[in-house]
Symmetry: C2
Subunit: 549 residues, 2 copies
């Protein structure tokens, strides 16, 4: 009998274990070895912050499978605490170190799947070794222990460094545990992947729940019990956790001479094949193809990791399949609000010099006449020449994940921004609106694409006013009295037909609460012969949140 085909998978979590299980379903006649240097496989990294916060009460709930269960069900040879320390591509072997004993041995492979994931970046400041990071159960256990503090000095204060997705989850969950949390972020906003006027809504929520948010701040050093910032502020910190991003775990691949991307990560083709055809890479460690540009990108997210794991198993067993480009849809919850995004942000687009059409809306998650409706903020980014959807963001208490999922699906389906107006989304008053928020985005996009309306952004209106445009607030007198843009005239929409003659000549920028009445006003004025009219996109609500920035 010929020797069994041997596939070795390095890393046994999302990508690696999904590869191994699918490989078994595809091929019973194969030796499948999963080598994992950690103590656990198949665990829920994404749940770690919530066990810290006590939301997920049982630590065991994070362990979805064990080597034993995987052996029984899938006939997998899973070895935890076994680290691959070297790849010999010539001989198609890996050198494995059994961490319990220190013994090293070789394993031969026909195909090697690298699913080594990513590791948390350790920031370079002095004392960083006193700070925790959070990537696996061991990290979590260490934080749990630190949380307890000692009997004499229980932990009371925490500094979380980095206000990205995981940093926010940490801030929320450490607050839940009763700690006073300071969240330190180098950028000028929390959630740097989002645009600032969206992120500010999360910032507000964090502060409302007692998190002290310090943006545009860097940690200069950590000492026991204290974190010092670049402005010399000293923050008490019984616990310090850094969450400043991850980098692909490419040590092995690099040593083996596999091609890496310019920003790290293992370069793969559409079949997840590395520069060595017998070696594949999947999940966080692999470079992905960006859906917008087709170029390499790093997207360390669980859906893609799981999906690529399944895909590589199909490739290895001979199916003709290709990995799609990635959109990077992501979501985070914070104290009852949800922030989600897909595709590119405005700042990323602008940084790349791309033109972009921007739409902000503030719709309700369901019909306003049905109790419990909550307002969310949505943002859509559109490619002006093609009307293609480039990205979207949402923040709000309800229904945000649904809208971002719908837009992510529309992007995958190649729908244009204006096509969103036609989506038939399930409507009854407790679920949405007859014109769903996504439909509304489509209508606004349609109006812009067709030149039916023109808008200015919150960051443009100041310069417009300085350059002589008249800002006309078409809200009611009462709303206007509660605050408006500097120098804005107030002509309520319902009086505009009669009073438009009062408006000075020249460019007009109309504004209302969210942009909707402004839209009607702009249309009205245009048809009354005012050629140079624009509507403030997102209205006073978007502008006022960020006017100070």
């Amino acid at each position: 009998m010929a020797a069994l085909h041997r596939t070795i998978v390095v890393g046994g979590v999302a990508a690696g274990m999904s590869a191994a299980t699918r490989l078994r379903r595809n091929d019973e006649q194969r030796h499948i070895v999963v080598l994992e240097r950690g103590s656990h496989v198949s665990f829920a990294n994404c749940g770690l912050p919530y066990h810290l916060g006590g939301v997920i009460e049982e630590r065991d709930d994070l362990l979805l499978q064990t080597p034993e269960s995987l052996a029984a069900r899938f006939g997998l040879d899973v070895r935890t605490r076994h680290e691959v320390v070297e790849i010999d591509r010539e001989r198609r072997t890996v050198l494995v170190r059994a961490l319990e004993t220190g013994d090293e041995y070789e394993e031969a492979y026909d195909e090697l799947v690298l699913a080594t994931g990513a590791r948390a970046v350790r920031p370079p400041f002095p004392g960083a070794e006193l700070a925790h990071t959070l990537r696996d159960l061991g990290d979590m256990d260490a934080i749990l222990a630190a949380l307890e503090g000692s009997a004499e000095t229980p932990s009371r204060s925490a500094v979380v460094v980095g206000a990205g997705f995981i940093g926010i989850e940490l801030a929320e969950n450490l607050t839940r545990r009763g700690l006073d949390v300071v969240l330190v972020e180098r950028e000028a906003q929390v959630l740097p992947p989002l645009d600032v006027e969206m992120a500010v809504l999360v910032d507000e929520r964090l502060r409302a729940h007692g998190v002290e948010v310090r943006t545009s701040a860097s940690v200069t050093r950590v000492e026991p019990g204290t974190v010092t910032l670049d402005d010399e502020t000293r923050l008490p910190a019984d616990l310090v956790v850094t969450a400043v991003g991850v980098v692909p775990e490419t040590g092995l691949a690099e040593k083996a001479g596999l091609d890496l991307g310019p920003r790290g990560g293992i370069v793969v083709d559409a079949q997840q094949r590395t520069s060595d055809p017998a070696v594949f890479a999947v999940g966080d460690v692999a470079v992905k193809r960006d859906a917008l540009t087709g170029t390499g990108t790093l997207v360390p997210l669980a859906q893609t990791a799981n999906r690529q794991g399944r895909l590589v198993a199909d490739v290895i067993t001979g199916r003709d399949v290709t990995a799609p480009a990635v959109l990077g849809t992501a979501v985070v919850g914070a104290f009852g609000t949800t922030a989600a995004m897909v595709g590119w942000s405005e700042k990323r687009l602008r940084a790349e010099g791309r033109q972009v059409r921007v739409i902000h809306t503030h719709p309700s998650d369901h019909a306003g006449y049905y109790p419990g409706a909550r307002t969310m903020a949505l943002k859509l980014l559109v490619d002006p020449p093609t009307d293609a959807i480039l990205g979207a963001q949402g923040v709000g208490e309800a229904g945000v994940d649904k809208r971002i999922d719908v837009i992510a699906t529309a992007m995958r389906g190649g729908l244009r921004a204006s096509d969103l107006a036609d989506l038939e989304l399930a409507y009854a008053p407790q679920y949405g609106s007859a014109k769903d928020p996504v439909n509304m985005l489509g209508m606004v996009a349609d109006n812009l694409a067709a030149g039916i309306t023109d808008t200015v952004q919150w960051y443009e209106v100041g310069a417009e006013a300085r350059d002589g445009a008249t800002v006309v607030d078409v809200r009611s007198a009462g709303e206007y009295a509660g605050g408006s843009l500097p120098g804005a005239l107030n002509v309520p929409l319902d009086e505009l037909r009669d009073r438009h003659v009062e408006l000075p000549a020249g460019r007009l920028v109309v504004t209302c609460a969210v942009g909707q009445r402004g839209h009607t006003a702009a249309r009205l004025l245009r048809q009354l012969g005012r050629d140079d009219v624009a509507n403030l996109d997102g209205g006073y609500r978007t502008w006022s949140r960020v006017a100070g920035i």
Copy 2:
């Protein structure tokens, strides 16, 4: 000065008023008359059941606009209690009856938009005039009055005839008001647009909340206080409401000789133009184009009505736009459960003689390791030769509307069923799973499309067993002991590799709780040389709910 262009809109709710407002935004220089025979325009029909149930406390909340507000904002000439009784297409005039005075007068139009909606079907049984229907505020007020009953005999019991979307909403809301509700449905299931194994989950929920559900039952007569069914059951009924469907309100159009569809409704082209180019029809009264077949269909839903209203305004003002075909996405809530669907049902497909690939799953709305996860039932219908998505259904307590919206968007985008596996949906543990329920549907679809697995449906497995197939339940012994398919052998999945030799020769149908372990089992058995293996789609959970049917 030339006379102003005149557009008359008949019907002032979703389609009609959306047409009128958009028309105004498109064209300030136009006389726009909205003629509405009812007392209200722009109201939320979809909220009517919830005001009956006291969920929407204020009746006024259902009134989104008034003739006055529409005049002030949009310069619309809105006349309530004005019925159009005749169209003179030659002279381009309508004959209007002012219902308050009985006076009749003519109005001339350049374009006429018929947005007359639909009316509730009155069933033909004797005493039907004693029963209420629910379409507008007047109907609602009448039911509210009947609900009170009289001082001596307050209403205690209600019979709702018809268990479609509105019937279910009525049953829920009348129960909320404290009435004992019997829900009578002629078909063998509630929610006839859904397939029975999905609808049964709503049925269970209704019963659990005290609604007496009587399917396969017809009302033969209504007398004061009593409803009699075809089996001579007499039900006490202080209140009777029928909700047995709607028909397009085509009286006017018919009299005017406009083309109607075979099942009613005004025939229109892709610009909503009727057989008379000066007359348009939109909303519930218009025939739509079905997305699956391209043929005429009736879809009386609010999104389409609103959207067509906006579209026709664009057509009238000279934009080159076309109405998309409709999918008919719909949703209903009942006592905390949600049922939603898009596209065609299995029974409808089969009735039309179409081949269909059927997938049932029972995923959690979010990661199982995060508290509060709820199981839903999902169903996907796929076109075998093309892998196109033909429809989907979902029932569950959380996350159902989101998944159906995503699938509806995928359908609109022309994504194949297998493409669902690649959707990047926003994942954090409280929102979904790394392999979202929609991704999982895509994986199962992919397996079926590629011939990686074969399944049998809940209604096929009985015949399979009679024809000699062996049913193998791969759940644990404990699960098996709690109930399984008749004659099923029990070989737990984790023992199958060792014990498969125990299985008799010939065809095998494997089954588990939901189909997932069955899938792994089927793959295993196939590769161990068992060529004739199928997996029971949806597993014991789907089968057991409907086995008795």
